[in-house]
């Protein structure tokens, strides 16, 4: 019987089995951020343990760092500056590479790791951040862990793991115009539940996945954690190697035969198989307080948990499109890359956001993305439309007690979580693609991006 892509990488990293039957898995890269990585570094310093191979550990300031222009270490989050200064001191003491607040290459962990060529096909990569699965887009086994496990990985170069089951999610056919990888992920979670991937490493496959560019693949894999999967992974191909070629930490050539074998064998058997016809997917928008509470933008709110209806303020049977909005957010490790910004800007060009939108932010995923966008004039398009143009970071994907949306806001957001209070106490979040955020910000209500023609196109 053939092996899955997951099997091949897992087996190549299986150092030994523990007495309890778990596997000791070699970890090739550890990436930290100042929110949860700081706790791991602090414990390591307290216990006197040392990083086994500091060349393979990286850290970045992304979660707490301010995104307002002219930023320093200061942040509106109470106590926030302490995370930044502690992380800086701890990474220096540990001798690991830090992408600091205003370093040229700073950005969201899962945006800069590929930009720097830190993630590579066939590696294992972990970070104390649930969205580490984003990096599975490169054919790496990449998953989120806690701070204690991050310390374990840094100190021992390994993790003690129970082998997960395997699942293949095949998107057959082709996406319709105006439908994006974000909509693919949301459609999967809406159909199979926020816990649908629990206990599984998920491989995304099929024509519609192969057709995605690397940034689209990252968006799809990013949401694997909202499906409760251990990770998402996509077999590397010419696009993958082409993206990584010439990146600072990437090898000079991808000539190891190991790489050409990084795909599931024809006769590989998965524990679970799901197939979705990509052509049937519409732009998706969440209506409730879990990513599984998601429907096509043209749909009506279904009956869900009473608490979700109460929190979000929408009754069953209400049409989602046309719901008035107060704020809009484009950013996060899900949708903050240059292609996301280009697509949103194409809709916003020559238009203004509706008067009811009291706060609208665009937060590029990295300073490199920001520079590229500015070179293309996208910043001017966003600002002319009424969006604020920010420095890179996680920003208002979550509320940390500092900057927030106006009280009681209903936000259309290109982020990954619509949990109660995620973007602030009482803030109601609707997650969607950057296109849907842009179209809705123009309309002032939740809107179908397919009905808003791009500049120069007939309506």
């Amino acid at each position: 019987m053939g092996q899955t892509l997951f099997d091949k990488i897992w087996n190549a990293h299986r150092i030994a089995d523990t007495a309890g039957g778990a596997h000791l898995i070699a970890i090739d890269r550890v990436f930290l951020h100042e929110r949860t990585g700081a706790a791991a570094l602090r414990r390591m310093a307290e216990t006197g343990r040392k990083v086994l191979d500091r060349a393979r550990v990286f850290a970045v300031m992304d979660h707490i760092v301010d995104t307002r222009p002219g930023r320093g270490d200061g942040t509106l989050m109470p106590g926030g500056e302490g995370f930044i200064t502690e992380t800086r001191a701890a990474t220096h003491a540990a001798g690991i590479t830090l992408f600091d607040v205003n370093d040229r290459d700073q950005g969201i962990i899962h945006v800069i790791s590929p930009e720097q060529g830190i993630v590579l096909p066939g590696l294992t990569l972990v970070a104390p951040d649930s969205h580490t699965c984003t990096q599975g887009a490169f054919g790496a086994l990449a998953w989120g862990i806690g701070s204690s496990e991050a310390e374990h990985a840094m100190v021992t170069g390994t993790l003690r793991m129970e082998r997960p089951r395997t699942m293949r999610v095949t998107f057959s056919g082709a996406l319709s115009p105006g439908v994006t990888p974000k909509d693919m992920a949301l459609a999967l979670i809406a159909a199979h539940g926020a816990g649908g991937g629990a206990g599984h490493a998920v491989e995304f496959a099929g024509e519609a996945v192969r057709a995605l560019d690397m940034e689209g693949r990252m968006t799809l894999c990013n949401m694997a954690t909202e499906f409760s999967a251990m990770t998402g992974i996509i077999a590397p191909d010419a696009k993958t190697f082409g993206y990584l070629a010439g990146r600072p930490h990437a090898p000079e050539a991808f000539d190891d035969p190991y790489w050409s074998a990084l795909h599931s064998d024809e006769d590989a058997v998965f524990d679970h198989d799901i197939t979705i016809n990509a052509g049937t997917i519409a732009p998706m928008v969440s209506w409730g307080t879990s990513p599984e509470h998601t429907i096509p933008v043209t749909g009506t709110v279904p009956q869900g948990p009473e608490r979700a209806h109460d929190y979000i303020g929408l009754d069953a049977g209400a049409p989602l499109a046309g719901t008035p909005l107060d704020a809009a957010f484009i950013g996060s490790c899900t949708n903050s890359r240059i292609s996301d910004l280009r697509r949103a800007a194409a809709l916003l060009k020559g238009r203004r956001i509706a008067p009811g939108i009291r706060k609208a932010l665009v937060v590029p995923g990295s300073l490199a993305v920001k520079r590229q966008a500015e070179a293309e004039g996208l910043d001017k398009v966003f600002e002319a439309a009424g969006f604020e143009w920010r420095m890179s970071g996680c920003s208002l994907c979550f509320y940390a007690g500092g900057e927030g949306f106006p009280d009681g806001s209903r936000v259309i957001s290109s982020t990954n979580r619509n949990f109660e209070g995620r973007q602030g106490p009482g803030i109601r979040t609707h997650i969607a693609s950057p296109e849907t955020v842009a179209a809705s910000a123009i309309a002032g209500v939740i809107a179908d991006p397919r009905t808003v023609a791009r500049a120069g196109e007939p309506a």
């Binding site: 929110r35 706790a39 690991i96 590696l123 806690g146 100190v155 979580r417």
Partner: protein, 201 residues
């Protein structure tokens, strides 16, 4: 880590599905890089009618008289989903919770429980519902949950069971295998040189 043998406690029900770690401990309650001082912020959005003044919501399960001193939480499917923040487990443990029974757990949260001596028990939804406000006994060695005259068996990975039962520190345990790890790395460096990086300057 304190070894676990038996946990006896009333089961306090929070029987919603998909309770996320942002709700268990909101980001704004995590104000230092330490692992303590978090119990007060546990379930802050639900426990308090006003998180700023800490006025308690009498309707919330953990604020009920019968919940005083509880060590056991009962939850819905996919408990602990969302952010990987281990602070969720640290907050629960500091509050006094020693076990959670739910139909399923999100994987990162479950891993964090095991590294902090918190016992995650998976039982069918209808069984979990039936345990609400009952005096429940969990015995780790025979892997049983009992309430009244009823008893259920639960599954747990042998590795996880040993770690919890003996209160083991995973890093100490793995460091005992350091020679094997170093040997593996030396071999791997020859077969996959591209996976290794130069030391930062």
């Amino acid at each position: 880590m304190k070894p676990i043998a038996t946990i006896t406690s009333p089961g306090v029900p929070l029987l919603r599905d998909n309770i996320d770690t942002d709700t268990i401990i909101p980001s704004r309650e995590m104000t230092s890089t330490g692992r303590t001082g978090l119990a007060d912020g546990l379930f802050a959005p639900w426990r308090y009618t006003d998180a700023a003044t800490r006025v308690r919501d009498p309707a919330f399960a953990l604020n009920q008289r019968d919940a005083i001193g509880t060590r056991l939480l009962l939850a819905g499917k996919n408990f602990g989903c969302g952010s990987s923040r281990e602070h969720a487990v640290w907050a629960l443990a500091e509050f006094g919770i020693e076990a959670i029974i739910a139909p399923s757990f999100a994987p990162i949260f479950k891993g964090n429980c095991l590294r902090n001596g918190l016992l995650p028990v998976e039982l069918p939804e209808e069984v979990v519902r039936g345990l609400a406000w009952q005096m429940v006994e969990i015995d780790l060695d025979p892997q049983t949950v009992s309430a009244g005259s009823e008893r259920w068996h639960f599954d747990i990975d042998p590795e996880a069971k040993t770690m919890l039962a003996e209160g083991l520190d995973a890093i100490d345990l793995t460091l005992k295998q350091k020679p094997a790890i170093l040997q593996w790395l030396a071999n791997d460096r020859c077969t996959r040189p591209w996976a290794y990086l130069e030391k930062p300057t």
